[in-house]
Symmetry: none
Subunit: 402 residues, 2 copies
């Protein structure tokens, strides 16, 4: 397998050029009826269309044809990391999602509060779907648990979800789930699946023993199961693989976490478009690469709200004038995957992508939408190759071979 | 190399949806003159065109650009099996082609009757191209040969061809051909090319010793050479890799054999389109996936008969109304390779492919043909990825990664 980083490590050069990566989460869509327009095609996007006329369009395949990615593999691909080679566990993603700064000695775990009967059998795997308020109180109680030799952190997630972190030396991340995936049976014991994770399994077992005591009177949330036990993957930072000083402007914690995972600096900004643009302008001289994440194209798609996704796309269009005013060498507008409102979920459909730079070969595009991207000069390409194209257009790659 | 099955094993889910895979063998073609239409474009195919308008088109590359596949790799690719990873020996394919039910202890061999002179030198590598009738009688004589410790089966092929099967424990499949590929020299001895195949080589040698006696008086077919000595490849079944209950409706034995090789059930049906559709309808509730094989687009192409291939394509079109009436979630129409009548052979040209499902992104196609497939939303893709796309559109794949 050819790793793009084999090239970028050898060929990178720093010419001081600037790159802006504007990611509309779940940007790609579907028409509601055959022959109709997608959300992006329906949206009035004069600024993106102008950029399309001077840039090149294409369609990006996040992982493989037919594979709908989660946010993790979707973003890793955009950042040029092979999403098959680098995999992120559920526990790690949950920890990133609550802005917990995971370190290399941390094991992250997703916990689900559940209900058990007197015999210890699970009667409800989600504890009657308790609200976040109750879950937060119970997480705070569990956070008091002490286990010799490690630090234990328990943080509230949404509803019945919680996040555990064990911090210590010699903790492997290869431990099986304790959720039996059905009711009427007890939770499983945490079991190490490979050498080097026995200590983690023993600590998880002790944690669960104490948790059962702590939560005894808190029915329906009188116990919890553990899932997605994992450590941070070893991911080489963007500074090393691309030579880029990179920063992320993202409202939602998970996307900040994913950016941190590849070594980007996280720039705090408010929730509005105006906040994010102001932060971009204020930090312009400090970085070479800016990742700006726009969540709402995805969330409106997940809600199945075609009209709202159109509106959220039109808001994305409003980023463009102030970005172009900064005169970056390369502007990329794309998504981490498609989220057609028709499907109310992430999908595998290839993702509309726009790359604008002075070195673009004209492809006749007149507006930014799926149909024109299908005819675009970038063709259909693997998402992990987009960074190569970006660096090339930024003049940041030397010739390969003599 | 990323194996699609690494994904499908993890992500498969059974939602009860139905898939029909209609394969027109050798479907792709060429125009007879530059600027002309291909066979598929010339054919009047109103039903396929209607399907194209609500589906997505593309071009499938069976193996690699420029590689014209045989039926084995062509179909393995369509079924989602990497045709480079899974290779089928000539002997195995010949055995499948005569409907011989190969087992895991069988070594299959293609035999060619030949003519030898008194000194044992080959004077005609095809025994004057004897007819099938003579070949059948000789195969029956050879079928009487007994070798201690193994069972020997000899079955007639077409003309001067025959098929041998040695059945027994400890028989490897790695033995060299005995055909010297030229006349004026004796046949080679069978030689094991790796440890574990010595027993097979010894048995083949004993078989040839006896065969020379048996065929002594049968000139011009007074001996035979052995080629393509091989065993069944270990291929994981579709039920495991995709979670599909799959069935094949195919007239010709080789295609039934290829379907059996990947674990499909074989549904008997008569030779006509009507027979095959009736079988499909009768079995509709018993399977999730139906592979229907239409041979005549290939055979007419191999004959170099453009007009007949057009007609055979129009017959293929007649399958569509009764398939759509069954309301499967996904219909795929494609070929295992191209067989342009202009070339009278299999070719490497990418294969027109149509996928119709409610989750298709509109690509503006109005009819099913090579030129529109080139502009289609599926782009040009590797055949082995078609099953991923099919499963995705059928709602049979979970999201990859969190």
């Amino acid at each position: 397998m050819t790793d793009p980083h084999d090239f970028t490590r050898r060929l990178q050069k720093d010419n001081g050029s600037k790159i802006v990566f504007l990611v509309g989460d779940g940007l790609g869509g579907l028409p509601l009826t055959p022959g109709g327009k997608t959300e992006l095609e329906t949206a009035h996007t004069p600024n993106l269309d102008a950029l399309a006329r001077r840039g090149t369009l294409g369609l990006s395949t996040p992982v493989l044809p037919g594979i709908a990615p989660g946010s993790g593999p979707g973003h890793l691909g955009l950042f040029g990391y092979d999403p098959v080679k680098y995999q992120i566990g559920r526990g790690v993603l949950e920890a990133l999602g609550i802005d917990f700064a995971l370190g290399p000695n941390d094991v992250a775990i997703r916990g689900n509060f559940c209900t058990i009967d007197d015999a210890g059998r699970i009667t409800d795997r989600r504890a009657g779907r308790i609200g976040t308020e109750i879950g937060s109180k119970l997480s705070a109680k569990l956070n008091e648990i002490k286990i010799p030799g490690v630090e234990v952190f328990v943080r509230a997630g949404e509803g019945y979800r919680t996040v555990l972190i064990f911090r210590g030396e010699g903790l492997g991340g290869d431990v099986g789930d304790t959720d039996p995936q059905k009711t009427g049976v007890p939770a499983l014991d945490p079991v190490a699946r490979s050498a080097g994770s026995e200590k983690t399994a023993a600590i998880a077992k002790e944690f669960l023993r104490q948790a059962k005591e702590v939560l005894k009177g808190d029915a329906p949330a009188n116990f919890l199961t553990l899932r997605g036990i994992d450590k941070l993957p070893l991911i080489p930072p963007v500074k090393e693989v691309y030579g880029l000083r990179a920063a992320a402007i993202a409202v939602y914690p998970m996307y900040r976490g994913l950016a941190r995972l590849v070594g980007m600096d996280i720039l705090d900004a408010g929730h509005t478009l105006e906040d994010q643009l102001a932060r971009l302008e204020a930090s312009w001289n400090d970085y070479d690469f800016f990742f700006i994440h726009w969540k709402y194209t995805d969330s409106s798609g997940e809600d199945g709200n075609f009209a709202l996704k159109v509106q959220r796309t039109e808001e994305l269009d409003q980023f463009i004038p102030r970005i172009t005013a900064l005169n970056p060498e390369v502007i990329v507008v794309t998504g981490d995957h498609s989220t057609p409102s028709k499907m109310k979920s992430h999908s595998w459909h290839p993702v509309p992508t726009l790359l604008a730079a002075d070195t673009c070969r004209f492809d006749g595009s007149t507006s930014f939408g799926e149909a024109q991207c299908l005819r675009g000069g970038l063709g259909q390409f693997e998402a992990k190759h987009l960074m190569l194209l970006t660096l090339a257009h930024a003049g940041r790659l030397e010739k390969y071979g003599a």
